[in-house]
Every structure is written in C-alpha cells, then in structure tokens.
C-alpha cells in the first residue's frame, strides 16, 4: 500500500493575546463584595486566565481576549454589574474582504491545525457575494470509497500541474506519444509570492519550510532567490522560481534541478519557454497572467497554444479583477475561462492555478469546483502568523503583531498547520460529495448550487423577476 499523505502538525500557541470578539465591561465600583463572584464560576475559566495574563503582562494589550460570549457571568452577577460587548478592536480587523471572523478562525486553525467546530447551526447571512453565493452538494448514499469509517480516509487530494496529451497513440502495443512532464502535488495548494508591501526578509525561508513540510511548492521571485539562503539547493523540488518579464533566467544548473518554473506573461513567452526547455525539457513552465481587463481572454488564448503547459491566473488579494471599474470576482472569471476551454475541447490539456481572494478552505473547494486545478495562496498564511490586516506595514509603520521577529519554528509551523487543516476541510467537503479525487472535483459545477441559478429555479417561477441582490 502506498504511503498515505499526511502532514505532521503540532499546536503552536499564539505569541500575542488574541483579539477576541467579545469584551466584558466591568463596573467594579459598585461591586457588592458578595464573595460569590460569577467570574470564578466562568465555565471557561477565562477570568482566572485573564488575571494570570495581567500578572505576567509586559505591556498593555487586549483583555478578556477569549471570552466565549455566553453571557453567563453577565446574567448571574449579584448586582448586575457586568456587560458584554463586541470588542471594537476586533471589529477594526481586516479589510472588508478578510473579515474579523475570517482572521480569527485563521488564527485558530494555524494554532491548532484543528477543523473549526461550533454548535447551534449556521449564524451567517443567507447568501452573499463571491464565494458566499454558492453551496457545495452532498450525496445521501454515495461514499468516496467503501473503506474506512467515513470513506474519507482514502480521498486523494493530489493534482498534476502540466500539459496532458488529449489522447495516447500506440504502435505495436507500444506507447508512441511522448508524455509531457507533470508536477504531482499532494494537495491542490501552491504558496504564492507575497505582495511587496506585506513581504519581510525572513518570510521566504519559512514559506519554503512550509512547502517542504506539506509536500507542495512555493513560488519565489528569482530575483530574490538569495533570501532562501542555503535552503535553496536542498529543496529545489519544492521551489517554483518566478521569472519576471525582463529578468534573466536561473542558471542552467538550477534550471536542471527544478520541477516547475513560472514566467511572466508578455511578448515572446514562446521563445522563453523554448529557452527553458532547451536546458531542461522535463521542467514544467507556468505562465502568470494578471486578471485585468484582458486576463480572461488572454488566459483562454494561452490555453489554445500547445506550448503552454500551465496558466497561473492572479486576481488582487480580495479576489477582484484589477484595473477595471466593475471588477469581476475570481470564481466567476475562473468559471468563464474553464467553460471556454471545455467548449473548445481542450480543458484537460492545460492546468489552471488560480490565486487571489481565497481566504478560507471552503473557498479552495469552491474555486476548484469553478474550474481551477489548484489554488495559490499567500495572505491566509500571513494571517496565520497573527497578522491583523491592519495595514500598518503597508503605510510604513511598525507591525503591531511584530511579525518580522517571529522564529522559523513558529512561522513554518503555523503555516504548515494552516495548510494541513485546509487539506482536512477539503476532504470533509469531498467526503460529503462522495468524491474520491480532487482531480475530479475540478469544474464539477453540477455538484454545486449557485445562488442565482437555484433562486431562479425555485423562487423565480413563484415570484417573478428578481429585482434586487
């Protein structure tokens, strides 16, 4: 039996108090001194922990950071002195797309590597924009396999990056088709480069370590390869160097050892691919395409070119098309590209990696359903390092989470945990769908429910035309 894909994880506690959702306002001055303080009776022992925290405090920070919001102390206090409120610091986190809830759950997942679990049903909006406008399907009786407890144990999350032949040719029972090179990833996640404003020097080796721990690849700008230090030579199979339009190629020695390389889109990419292939014909070349106003069309055009093996489409960090007044969302652009390639009958020949706006594990599953073979992430990994998305760094101020000073063990460990728990959640979704392979999840829009379609099918027939979003 082949070795099962497994990511080793361990709990990596936060360095700073979490910015929790709830805060207790404590009006101490009217305390009855009843000696029966409800704080002591907190089911979660939060008050005692908080006192310990204050005792050890080195500097001012958030208090009551892990209150669970059960209101028990508020409602049991003899004098009714306590009040619970939403922590304003919590509400300020994020950028609108990366909401406080997304940031908090990412912190927890990076800490514990555990799938987030909660009770009392779903609490959110009925539907929303972007990835929140679709649901994944499930099956009542189909399991991924008949083995194991849930059948999930044998789900494969492997994907292949590269060009696949449309058909195989044989002569005298011998395969005559020359099989193109493929990069096999055990999980459909590639670690992408970070936007310049979020980058810091010690980040790159940590990203590489996370890629090594999880068996995936990290995209590193070749012009910054020095940041990898001595690790570079040892782990070239986990690195995909990105080569900008005007940048020179890596040395032939390095090209010879790489599995995947990414080049910027532009004129003369065919010549550049030939140049790379001349050194290492087994090296898979991906073309990075910005999803601006031309991005979708350009991706489809590239896919029709037999020289192109993989296309990495990139939106902005919030999943939006760039440089247009009314941007489309990554899921819709991916679906458009995927559908066009299906119509052309060439979808299986080229690999699409999609990046930008994939903030949660559920987004990964949905993006693959919409047509990506694999996804590329960066910002969720940064959030896993306790980034609050406060933009201080972007504005040139010090990072309140002191991310530049993290240790390699902490950084790589938290990012490894996050990828591991995303992998686990992908398996949960696929298990519910009764699907056994991530490769087959790609483009399975028939196994998803899109809000606009199901609304029309259900309510459109009953209530006429939809007039508002």
């Amino acid at each position: 039996m082949p070795k099962k894909y497994h990511i080793d994880t361990k709990k990596i506690p936060p360095r700073l108090p979490k910015t929790g959702k709830f805060g207790i306002v404590d009006w101490r001055e009217d305390c009855a001194r009843c000696h029966n303080c409800v704080k002591k009776a907190c089911v979660y022992d939060r008050y005692r922990q908080e006192m310990q925290y204050i005792k050890d405090l080195e500097e001012f920070s958030a208090m009551f950071f892990e209150c669970m919001g059960c209101f028990s102390c508020v409602q049991k206090c003899t004098k009714g002195l306590l009040a619970l409120t939403v922590n304003p610091q919590y509400e300020r986190m994020g950028n609108g797309y990366y909401t406080p809830d997304i940031i908090l759950t990412t912190w927890n997942q990076a800490e514990t590597a555990g799938i987030p679990v909660s009770g009392a049903g779903y609490r959110g909006k009925f539907t929303g924009s972007g990835f929140d406008s679709m649901w994944t399907d499930m099956s009542e009786i189909v399991r991924p396999t008949r083995d194991g407890i849930h059948g999930r144990e044998y789900i494969s999350t492997s994907v292949d990056i590269g060009r696949k032949p449309k058909l195989l040719s044989f002569e005298n029972n011998e395969l005559t088709t020359v099989l193109p090179p493929l990069v096999d990833l055990p999980v459909p996640i590639v670690i992408d480069m970070f936007p310049e404003e979020y980058h810091f020097p010690s980040l790159t080796p940590m990203l590489l370590a996370a890629a090594v721990n999880t068996g995936t690849m990290v995209i590193v700008d070749w012009e910054r390869h020095d940041l990898l230090g001595t690790y570079k030579e040892k782990h070239l199979s986990n690195i995909a160097f990105y080569v900008g339009k005007d940048a020179s190629l890596p040395t032939p020695e390095i090209l010879g050892k790489l599995r995947l390389i990414e080049i910027a889109d532009g004129n003369g990419i065919e010549d550049r691919i030939k140049e790379i292939k001349a050194v290492n014909p087994r090296l898979v070349v991906a073309v990075r395409v910005e999803l601006d106003s031309r991005g979708e069309g350009r991706s489809i055009e590239l896919a029709r070119n037999p020289a192109i093996e993989a296309i990495h489409i990139v939106s902005d960090i919030n999943g939006n098309q760039t440089g247009v007044e009314k941007p489309k969302f990554i899921k819709d652009m991916t679906r458009h590209i995927h559908t066009a390639l299906v119509k052309d009958g060439i979808r299986d020949e080229v690999t699409i990696i999609a990046g930008g706006g994939i903030a949660l594990a559920e987004h990964m599953a949905k993006e693959i359903i919409c047509g990506a073979d694999a996804i590329a992430i960066n910002m969720p990994l940064l959030i896993g390092l306790e980034c609050r998305f406060c933009k201080s760094c972007r504005d040139g101020f010090d990072c309140p989470a002191k991310i530049e000073s993290i240790t390699a063990e902490y950084g790589a460990g938290r990012m490894t945990n996050l990828i591991a728990v995303w992998h686990d959640q992908l398996i949960e979704v696929m298990g519910a769908m009764g699907m056994r392979e991530a490769r087959r999840l790609r483009g399975e829009t028939g196994r998803a429910l899109f809000f606009e379609d199901i609304e029309e099918e259900t309510f459109g027939r009953l209530f006429g035309k939809r007039i508002s979003a």
Binding site: Y44, F126, F463, G464
Partner: protein, 526 residues
C-alpha cells in the same frame, strides 16, 4: 413500486400483532400555560434604564410602573436591580406611566441595550431571542408594545425575505376554536395507524450526550402536552423516556448506537437518519469528553472513547437497500411509522421520491442551515441547499409524480418562529421539525459553544452534572409548553386572517406568499 407492503400481510401470522404497545404507564402532562420566569438573575432586555445620582429614592417610578420594572423592596433604602426585561421601552411614552417623564428629578434615562450587539446573529437576531424567551415565559406572543421584530431574522434571504399576502379582511370570520392545526403523519393508507399530531411540528432529534437528561425529558413532556413527538436522536433510549413512549421517535442513525428491538417496539415512529442539516454528508462524532458512564452504557460503548457515526449507512447504496432497512423495522414493529431524515442535496427531489417508493411514511428534509449540535463550520455554511429551496423542489416533484398526498413532507433546518413554520407549509411542507427554538426557550443564547470543554455554559447541551443542574425539569417542561402554546396562537392568527379552517389548507399555497426581492407578478402557484 410500493415497497414491501403487499408482502407484509403474509407475515401477520408469524409476527405479534401489536408489538408497539408499551407496558409502561404513559405519563400525562397538562397543556396548561403557567408563568415560567427566566432563570437568570439579570435577564437581558431590549432597553435599559440608567439611574443617575440625581435620584432621591422617592420611589415614584416603582409606584407608577404597572410592569414592575423598578424594584424598591420594603425596608430597603436602595433600589434592587431593575426587571428590565418587562420594560416595554419607548412605546411606554404614550402611556400615563412613563417613568422617564414622571421622575421628578429627571434621574432616569432609557437607552437601547448596547449588549444586544454582542448577542445573536443574522439568523437569530437579539429581538428573536428575546421574543422567544418571552413566549416561553408567558405562553403568549409578545405584545406589540415590546417592539420585538421577531417574525423574521436578518439573514437577507429565504424565510427572512418572504412575507404573507394577507387579505385586507378575512374571507370568512372564524373563531379560534374552529381552526384545526393538526396534521396526519401517515398518508400511505397501508393499514398502519393514522398518527395525528395536534400541531404541525415535532421536536428534533437531540441525543443524550448532545443535550442533558433534563432537556430531553422536558422536550418529551411538552410533546405529550401537545400530542406531538420528540426524537431521541442517535444514541438510544433512556429508561426515563419510557413513560413518554407514545410521543417519542427513536432514531436509527448510521452508528446504530443504542438501537435495540426492544426500543423500536415501544415507539409509534422510527426515524432513519441518513444525514443532518448541520453537517450534511459528514456523519457524527461524539467527543470523548461527552462519553460519560451513562452515555457509554446506553450506547454500549467504552467510557471516554470518541464515537463515530459514519456517513452514510454502510449497508445502503440504493433505494432497494433503504427499503430493506425499512422492512426490517416494519417487521419488528408492525404498528410503527417510518420517517426518513435526509439533508438537501441537489437531487433531494429524487431522494424524496425514492424514499417514498421504498415505503417511508414521512420524508424529513433537514436543510443546510439548521442543526443544534456541534458541527464543522465549513459544513454548516457551505454544504447542501437551504431548506427553503428544498421544500419547494420536493413538493413540486412529488406533486408532478402524483404522489404528494401519499407522503408526509416534514421540513427542518433553521425554522425559528411560527411565521417560519407557516411559510414552510405555504411553500409545500406538511409540517416541520424544530430544535434550536426549544433550546432557546430553555435559555440558550446561541453562543455556539456546545462542543467546548464541559459543554454548554447554559446547562443545556451538556452531560456535566453541575452545569445540567441549572435546568429544572418542571421549569423546562413549562417553558417549552408555553412556547408551543404561543406558537399555536400565532399560527391560528395567521390561518384566521386567511379564513382557513385547517393548517392543511395552507400547504403549497405559494400564491399567498410574496418575496421582497422579486416583482411578485406571477399568478400561478405550485
């Protein structure tokens, strides 16, 4: 295909005729509304009244307020904590007892409670939580003066965007007593009992382990009072449930925990749980901490070891397999009805028809947004369709297939109020299953921490003896009876406005609904 019913008659000779008859005397619980005050010292209120240092303790506010908001106990110099939950807020301004204006020193100030921001969520708004607590306390729908906007939540879709198109005047003037809210659960005409429940809802499956003994029993006793049902959930049948046998649905889930012939023979409905809305397609996982000696004994498992209920039934890969399961139960208990609980996948309509073909009496759809117990967040939000779509899809398909009146369609998964229930029925369900609302009646505040450590800090979803002792059986029973009573009154009021004598007249009447996001210019209904 009509299941195995034809073959069943031949087996009458070899099987006992009346296996469902319990030997335990059945408990009686009066359907009587009695006050069941909140159990916390400081009840959360929509408005708070602040008393400044200008107060001279003259006591006028306490004297004028007919609701008893201000408490100045005899012999005490200072006011006790006010009973803010009975304050009707700014609507009191129109009365002659508005304490804010009547205070001679203007020492009182009324503001909306800032804590409400931290309470509830899009689906269960603070108003909806407080209104449910109020109904559980009084047995009456909250008076309009309280200003609770509780008929819809703030989720922005589904039930929350549907409204009834009430006629200006009821077409027929009916008395409350003339309106029938009962529904029949067996429509197959297969010779099994015509089980009828007095209200178009029953209690959802919550196992011992996921909730406390007292919570399960409170639900069961309320079910007796309203001649409806409660469900054991997976994990078996407590000895203490036996006096309520006639109102208990026992569940057969994929782990088969606690499934015994003896318990199947006691009940009038057996439910096969294929999936559940909280975690469609994911099976169950009872954490080791919750496998206490009592839970382990009932489930016949080992203390402190996590229990997995696989997904789906390992023995079911087709409708024929499903039928085989039902045959098994129907032969063990020749009087029982079968309910089949499924989630809402894309092909839920086919699932429902298949289940009917296999011989089920009740198709129970559990939509993706529901659930009471712990579940992965990714499943709660993303997997399977919301129940609003599922009901329409299945009702439409069963109608097209000509079998709509041969099966009872029950919906669950995020139904919170009597208005949701009425809307679900108008969309095409016969009745509904409720769960979270019952827990809210018992004081659940939806903090979502059902799975953490010792379990629910409110003493509901826990097996921790100390925490569970917060809920008293008599009190819990009364709270749910009161809630049901208020709901029934609301439902009757809705039917009355439509001039309907029976809730069954409302089924599938989508022409009586409108959607706030649509043009609503379609004349026909399903």
């Amino acid at each position: 295909m009509e299941g195995s019913l034809a073959r069943e008659s031949a087996l009458k000779e070899i099987l006992p005729e009346n296996t469902a008859k319990t030997l335990v005397p059945q408990a009686e619980v009066a359907r009587e509304v009695r006050p069941a005050p909140p159990r916390y010292r400081n009840e959360i209120a929509k408005y708070i009244i602040r008393r400044s240092s200008d107060c001279t303790l003259c006591g006028r506010c306490a004297r004028v307020c007919p609701n008893g908001v201000h408490v100045l106990k005899p012999g005490y110099k200072l006011f006790s904590a006010p009973h803010l939950n009975v304050c009707i807020g700014p609507s009191c301004r129109k009365t002659d007892h508005y304490c804010i204006d009547l205070c001679p020193n203007k020492a009182l100030q009324m503001v909306e409670n800032p804590m409400l921001k931290a309470m509830g969520d899009y689906r269960w708004t603070p108003d909806m939580l407080m209104a449910t607590w109020r109904m559980a306390e009084t047995g009456e729908p909250p008076a309009p003066e309280y200003g609770y906007e509780y008929e819809t939540g703030a989720s922005g879709g589904g039930f929350d965007r549907l409204r009834f198109r009430f006629p200006e005047k009821p077409p027929v003037d009916l008395l409350d007593d003339e309106i029938d809210t009962s529904i029949v659960l067996n429509r197959r005409g297969d010779g099994r009992p015509q089980v009828k429940i007095d209200v178009p809802w029953y209690g959802g499956g919550m196992s011992f382990g996921s909730v406390s003994n007292v919570v399960q029993l409170s639900k069961a006793r309320a079910a007796v009072a309203f001649n409806t049902f409660t469900c054991t959930g997976e994990g078996g049948y407590m000895e203490r449930m036996k006096p309520y046998d006639d109102h208990v649905i026992t569940q057969i889930a994929t782990g088969l925990f606690g499934v015994r012939e003896e318990t199947i023979q006691r009940v009038r409905i057996v439910e096969f749980k294929y999936a559940q809305g909280a975690k469609p397609g994911l099976g169950g996982h009872l954490l080791a901490d919750k496998v206490t000696p009592a839970v382990a004994r009932m489930r016949e498992t080992v203390l402190g070891i996590s229990l997995f209920s696989p997904f789906p039934f390992h023995s079911v890969y087709s409708i024929e397999d499903h039928q085989k399961h039902m045959d098994w139960i129907k032969h063990i208990n020749r009087q029982t009805l079968i309910a089949t609980k499924v989630s809402t996948p894309n092909d839920v309509d086919m699932v429902a028809v298949g289940s009917y073909s296999a011989g089920t009496h009740i198709v129970h759809l559990d939509g993706g947004y529901g659930g009471t117990g712990a579940a992965p967040d990714i499943a709660k939000k993303n997997i399977a369709m919301p129940i609003e779509y599922g009901i329409v899809k299945v009702h439409r398909f069963l109608t097209d297939e000509g079998i709509r009146d041969k099966v009872t369609l029950i919906a669950s998964g995020g139904l919170r109020t009597p208005h949701d229930i009425a809307k679900a029925i108008a969309l095409g369900a016969d009745g509904v299953v409720v769960g979270t609302s019952e827990l809210v009646a018992l004081g659940c505040i939806r903090c979502s921490r059902c799975e953490s450590g010792r379990g629910c800090p409110r003493g509901i979803a826990t097996t921790d003896a100390e925490l569970a002792s917060d809920v008293d059986l008599e009190w819990g029973t009364q709270r749910i009876i009161n809630l049901y009573s208020a709901w029934r009154k609301e439902l009757v009021a809705i039917l009355k406005r439509f001039g309907m004598r029976s809730v069954s007249e409302l089924r599938g009447r989508t022409d009586l609904l409108m959607h706030l996001d649509y043009t609503n210019d379609v004349e026909t209904h399903i």
